[in-house]
Amino acid sequence: MKTSSDRVFMPVKSTDTELLRRFEPVVKYTKGEQFFPFDVDRYVSECSLWAHYPDGREEPLVPQNEMSLEKLVEERPATFGTIHFLRFIETLSLSESALALTQQSRLRRKLHNQFHVGMGRLARGGFLARITDALFSLSLLMRGKVSPATAAAAELTYERMHEKEEKYTYYGRVVRQNGWIVLQYWFFFCYNSWRSGFHGVNDHESDWEMITLYLYEENEKLYPEWAAYASHDFHGDDLRRRWDDSDQLDIINGHPVVYAGAGSHASYFRPGEYQAEVSLPLPTWLSGITKALNKFWTDSLGQPEGNPFRIPFVDFARGDGLSIGDEQEHAWSPVVIDDSVLWVSQYRGLWGLFARDPVSGENAPAGPMYNRDGSPRSSWYDPLGFAGLDKTPPPPQALKLLMDNNAEINQRQQELNTLIPQKAAELQVMGMKLKGLEDHPHLAKIYALLQKRINTSAEELKNLRRERMENGALMQGLSQRLKQIEAGIEDNPHAHIQHMAVPVESVEMRHARAAETWAAISLSLMFFAIAALVFLAPAYFWAGVAAILILFVVVESILRGAFIQTVARVTLILALITSVILVIEFWKIILVALLVILGIFLMAQRLRELAN
């Protein structure tokens, strides 16, 4: 059995607040982070409440200086398609924007809170990824986005409120589900500055992040078993780590450690820089073609996977900045929430600006209980399923469940052992009867009926025998598992993880400075070269573009130390184009050759058969 003596625990009669406090996380931020967990009431009092109507109209419902949590949850009937949203920063004039941006720089210098980017994300991705990235930047011009001035004003407003009262709040929730005691810690941020502050994917007003701990009860004590952190690109089982998985989960005095992504506030188990990949929002038909080409590239040509329409972004979760929690420089101010808290359950709108971004990246999120479209958030109503834990019983119940299951199968085996010989004997009797009916034409009807019954019984018998066989194998597996649990042998703590978030290794590039510079200017240089080509040699436009592209890709590959891979990929693409040309030019010859080869093959086969 699992020995619990050396593990942190809480008495089963502990209050929700005591439980939350005992296991509250230590969150370590990256140096340069501008926004930390904040309390919603102070944030809401700084906001105005708006409605966005389906016809595109926007209307203020509650002005900025009159806003409160009570006002937020007031009943507001509206037509389908209406979106309610808060506005943390009001529309800025040109002069206000300039002022905000200047004051932001001053503030950062004053706080000595400058972010050091290290190797830029552009140098981490290849040339094609950079082209896609340029398209992504262009897409932001067409989609709605939060302006840099809004980000600056948000930072200044947050800093003003933070200076007035320095407080780091989490919203804790305790749920009991299927034998598990679930502790959820929700963190609210005034702003997500991933794009404007850390070269990430998006910016939006307000941000909600969450981690969940799963405890089980044994001998009147509650023990933590799993920790699940919400993170980009991962879901289900991949989100959780076992409490004793010291490779993956840092624990300080019984408090799990979270490394928060700079600006994005995503939670990670290990400190480092995580490469998040974002797909360019493509039309369905183009995305289908890309998928088919990718499949052909990997499956048919056996080449390594790669999608040029995915852009690498870095989430910096270095953990070298401010940290909050037990024995850290700052302590938590916990607030317990549940469904009865009105701002949690009654406000279904967005907690910040609705930027009219159709792919939602720049729109503010909804609260802990809801998605942006107002539907319930699965992590709220199904915290077990959220981390793939709905199929896993708490450890003390696992043994009993397994034994019950084993006993059930055992009993069924006994039944089968009796049933199968009975059925087999019945079948033999029917077979004998059938034999007796043969050669008697007047008994044809009875013969047919009996034959039908025999076929059904034979099928039944076959299924019973298969079931007995399968149960035997199942029992063997269950017995082994039972022995393993009884002997207290733990599973591999990573066995449930299919995709593990792993920080990228610090890449040592040849000529790193040159590679960085090249990454920054290469795309523009390519456009200049193409412009020169249009001007100087328009007759050779396509050949010139191909040559320029190849030249840039080759220079890039040399700087990145990937010359061989690049040569291989470029040559393979050229081979595909050339093969298409050859097929077009010689389709008749190819068809004739194929027919002749097929004819020879078939003839050889038949002649060999004849000779034998």
């Binding site: 081979a575 184009i577 050339t578 050859l582």
Partner: protein
């Protein structure tokens, strides 16, 4: 795919043999291309009498000789690559891939702009390029690791 063993005991994929045949085909094409300009200019007959340069400028005979020499060097180069390739040297894989890539760029340029491509060379290049891209060929030439990752 069937495999043969070379002298060092490493298994040689059939694709390697296909590539070797492709190189041999290219070798003969290059030999033909090296003889063709000389034959067209009757240079073989006039080798002793006609000058290569006249007033510091290449004569038609000189141009034919130079062109022929170029193709001959290419043919000899192919033999060297072939030898290295059969011994499964890594550099030959890289060299051949780059060569074939360059050759295909020239072939495509000929096709789209001059309408006079050499389809035999284009076909050989395609066969060689596809054969070189086979996972087991890349593994045996230490371009790709056994787990499928690229070895830079």
């Amino acid at each position: 795919m069937g495999k043969k063993k070379n002298k060092t005991g490493e298994k040689r994929p059939v694709a390697v043999t296909v590539i070797a045949i492709g190189i041999v085909v290219l070798f003969f094409v290059r030999i033909y291309q090296s003889i063709k300009p000389l034959a067209e200019e009757n240079s073989l007959r006039n080798m002793q009498t006609e000058p290569i340069f006249l007033d510091g400028i290449l004569t038609p005979h000189g141009q034919a000789v130079l062109e022929s020499l170029l193709y001959l060097i290419l043919a000899i180069g192919l033999i060297i690559v072939l030898l290295g390739f059969l011994r499964m040297r890594r550099w030959t894989w890289v060299f051949l891939m780059a060569w074939v890539g360059f050759s295909m760029v020239v072939g495509l340029e000929d096709y789209f702009y001059f309408g006079d491509p050499n389809f035999v060379i284009m076909a050989s290049d395609v066969v060689i390029a596809f054969a070189l891209s086979q996972a087991d060929v890349q593994r045996i030439f230490k371009i790709r690791s056994d787990t499928g990752e690229d070895i830079i």
